[in-house]
């Protein structure tokens, strides 16, 4: 009877011993294979991530850290109106009478419409909160609207810093650090975003109103009766009063 096994093969113990080496060798090879595959997989993932995610990091950042300005409808509180009027006063320094009253009326109408009809409640509400926190951080006492104009402007100006420029594309490490910095400072950036957007919205409202047009001499806008031909007059000097009507010279070739 032949010993157990294949003719000419090593005895069982030796085979077991050798088998252990074979198994270890196989395990090593398997491990190397698996590790290689894992590394390849991770590499592919990284490549996909770099290709698909990294270029969209701005969008992803916005989705995570910048709630939309639009889409929330509702009414502002009296306190919020007061804060917004106070903010408008540092944009457009209304003086005398009735400019301040007109400014308040313009702003109230503008933001009320914006919040109720155009879904800008979040913009105004978060904007007011940003002003309040900036006021607090700068050590001013009292609410934003109760501060003197100079202090209000200082508090608001602190929220208007532009975002730092992106590092050059050729410096990926700088870009990564910049991005991480943005993530760490996301709440601050979000506050600045709301404050800057609020300023832009109120500026649009004020300067597209009668106040803004009067500033450049257009007292015929938006609705003074019988002013329909004033556009044929020269514009008044900047800040000056409208000149009286004058004879308009005939222009050859142009009927009137």
């Amino acid at each position: 009877m032949e010993p157990d096994g294949v003719p000419g093969a090593a005895p069982p113990e030796a085979r077991i011993q050798n088998g252990g080496e074979v198994m270890r060798a196989q395990t090593r090879r398997g491990f190397i294979k698996i590790a290689g595959l894992a590394l390849l997989f991770l590499g592919i993932l990284a490549a996909i991530g770099r290709a698909a995610v990294w270029p969209r990091r701005g969008t992803i950042f916005q989705a995570l850290f910048r709630p939309p300005l639009e889409g929330q409808y509702g009414a502002l509180t009296e306190e919020e109106f007061r804060q917004l009027e106070a903010f408008a006063e540092i944009i457009f320094p209304a003086t005398g009478d009735p400019e301040p009253r007109e400014l308040h009326a313009v702003v109230r109408r503008w933001v009320d419409d914006g919040a109720r009809q155009y879904g800008l409640l979040a913009l105004y509400r978060h904007g007011v909160r940003a002003l309040a926190s900036a006021t607090h951080e700068r050590g001013f006492d009292g609410p934003f609207h109760a501060l003197p104009v100079g202090d209000r402007r200082a508090a608001a100006a602190a929220l208007m810093d532009e975002e730092p420029d992106l590092p050059p594309a050729a410096e990926p490490l700088s870009q990564l650090l910049h991005f991480l910095d943005r993530v760490l400072n996301a709440p601050e950036e979000r506050r600045r975003h709301y404050a800057r957007s609020l300023r832009a919205d109120l500026t649009r409202g004020i300067f597209s109103s009668h106040l803004g047009w009067t500033l450049v001499g257009y007292d015929s806008w938006p609705g003074v009766p019988s002013a329909h031909l004033w556009y044929t007059l020269p514009p008044p000097p900047a800040g000056g009063a409208r000149p009286g009507s004058r004879d308009t010279p005939a222009v050859a070739g142009v009927g009137s």
């Binding site: 100006a157 649009r204 044929t232 308009t248 142009v254």
Partner: protein, 519 residues
């Protein structure tokens, strides 16, 4: 039979054709794919003040399209599918074509002739001007006319009178009052322009004409039924030369048929050829209805344009009125053809930044901001150099081979490139405009990129005497079908330089009159 005439499209062409038919005692059903907006609507006006565009006029799926065009066409940025059509936000320029535009092939060997001369259309121009309330005045180089405008011209603005007109004259160029469908006096139950520069996208007091005026008049006759939200998917034949009905669907998917003795397609230069191509059927119409010439959708034309702007050394008071009060036909005289095309030069004194724009751009606060607006505002003016375009078969509307709309129909595909003829013409026009600015001692002069006037869509079902070289006859009737008509700038064999609306209106009234006599 539900009506004598079924009109597809309730813009200026459809509205005026319906009005004329109703006045002639015919019953009409007027369909439009889009909604009926309240007009004017001050809630929408508030949206304008916030720089939010006021019309939700296109449906992303229903009105999708493809384009391969330079410059980009941006179809849905300008056309409005709604009762009133694109006149809901037009600029109200209401200029006639020049007589030479009707004979481009005969005179210069370019493009195609119209099937009739200018003199044939002149009385219809006059009627269209009366219906729309066009204000204008006589001046050199304008197209000839047999009677004065129904309304006197708007008084020339300060900027044009003091700066622009003298500069034109110093260079030996004529300039005349612009003709515009905005009331310079109360007219047709609508007030005079109040000069608040709030014309665009719409006039809050209705001093600017829109096609809603004639939709309302047509409805008031009791003979016209207006059906918004009625999208026409197919034109269906009965025999080889007669349309029996159109297949309609609304937003809810309800399907119905509209039958009539005659049909007028008035849905604009993209949707009309698209509908004809979609309606292909057996019996000699396998390449689309009315397409025995192979020209349905071809010869797409528009108006290329360069806007030259300048900053003057004196304040010119822009934004006092939205109406451009002058216009120059000086280099729109066919004198440089066939080498260089015509150009219309149109001063625009309200194109520069408004106080709000300057304030937003400045980044300043308080007194400094106010001073910046005071000092910077009011120096900019523009001159539009708008050129002619030649018909080329490769510029065309076809059907997409890969994308469909919400109803499963292929969306339109537009292919359009400008040629040397167009580019040279507007470059020459821009050079003239730059010379005018130099004459005005402008401190800065700059020009825009080459653009196109996106809502001017011309030539895609052109009319002509020869059925082999045109889609429709001189009345807008398709050569291949006895009771199918087209009313649109798609009929124009040439693009000219004038804005197309007045010519669309004149042709619509003329086609309507023909139908009154023949249906």
């Amino acid at each position: 039979m539900s009506a004598d005439v079924c009109i597809v499209g309730a813009g200026v062409a459809g509205a005026l054709a319906a009005f004329r038919l109703a006045a002639g005692g015919k019953s009409v059903v007027l369909l439009d794919s889009g909604p009926r907006f309240e007009y004017p609507d001050m809630a929408r006006y508030e949206r304008v003040r916030r720089s939010i565009y006021p019309w939700d006029w296109f449906d992303e799926d229903r009105d999708d399209y493809e384009e391969e065009a330079t410059p980009r066409i941006g179809l849905n940025s300008n056309r409005i599918k709604a009762i009133g059509g694109t006149t809901l936000h037009w600029s109200a320029n209401a200029q006639r074509f020049q007589p030479g535009d009707f004979r481009m092939r005969t005179l210069f060997g370019l493009g195609a002739d119209w099937p009739f001369p200018y003199d044939e259309l002149e009385p219809w121009y006059l009627l269209a001007e009366r219906e729309m309330g066009v204000a204008g005045g006589s001046g050199p180089d304008q197209p000839p006319r047999s009677a004065p405008y129904p309304l006197p011209p708007h008084e020339v603005s300060f900027a044009e009178r003091e700066f622009i007109v003298p500069a034109f004259h110093a260079l030996g160029l004529s300039i005349a009052p612009n003709s515009t469908a905005t009331n310079s006096q109360p007219y047709d139950g609508r007030p005079r322009c109040a000069a608040f520069a709030t014309c665009n996208p719409f006039c809050p007091i209705n001093a600017k004409y829109t096609a809603t005026v004639h939709v309302a008049k047509a409805e008031a006759s009791g003979r016209v039924v207006v059906k918004p939200d009625s999208h026409v998917r197919r034109v269906v034949l009965e025999g080889r030369r007669k349309v029996s009905h159109v297949e309609c669907v609304d937003r809810n998917g309800t399907i119905w048929r509209e039958r009539a003795r005659a049909f007028v397609l008035a849905g604009g230069g993209v949707e009309i050829p698209r509908l004809l191509l979609l309606s292909a059927t057996d019996g000699g119409h396998d390449q689309g209805l009315a397409n025995s010439s192979g020209l349905v959708g071809r010869n797409y034309m528009t108006h290329p344009r360069i806007i030259v702007r300048g900053r003057l050394s004196e304040r010119i008071g822009p934004h006092r009125t939205g109406v451009d009060t002058t216009n120059s036909w000086a280099v729109y005289q066919h004198r440089t053809l066939p080498g260089t095309g015509n150009v219309m030069l149109s001063p625009s004194v309200s194109g520069g930044p408004e106080p709000a724009d300057i304030a937003l751009e400045s980044g300043l606060w308080g007194e400094e901001l106010v001073e910046e607006v005071r000092v910077r505002y009011g120096y900019e003016v523009g001159i539009h150099a708008k050129g002619d375009m030649l018909p080329r078969p490769d510029n065309r509307v076809t059907l997409s081979s890969s994308r469909v709309d919400t109803y499963g129909d292929p969306i339109p595909r537009i292919e359009m490139q400008l040629g040397e003829f167009e580019l040279n013409a507007i470059d020459e026009g821009a050079k003239v405009a730059e010379a005018i600015f130099r004459q005005m001692n402008a401190r800065e002069i700059w020009r825009s990129n080459t653009q196109i006037v996106r809502n001017h869509i011309i030539g895609t079902t052109r009319m002509g005497s020869d059925p082999a070289d045109s889609v429709c006859d001189e009345w807008g009737r398709c050569h291949d079908l006895d009771n199918l008509f087209v009313s649109s700038s798609s009929l124009f064999p040439s693009a000219a330089c004038s804005s197309p609306t007045l010519t669309i209106a004149a042709l619509a009234l003329r086609t309507g009159d023909f139908l009154v006599r023949n249906v």
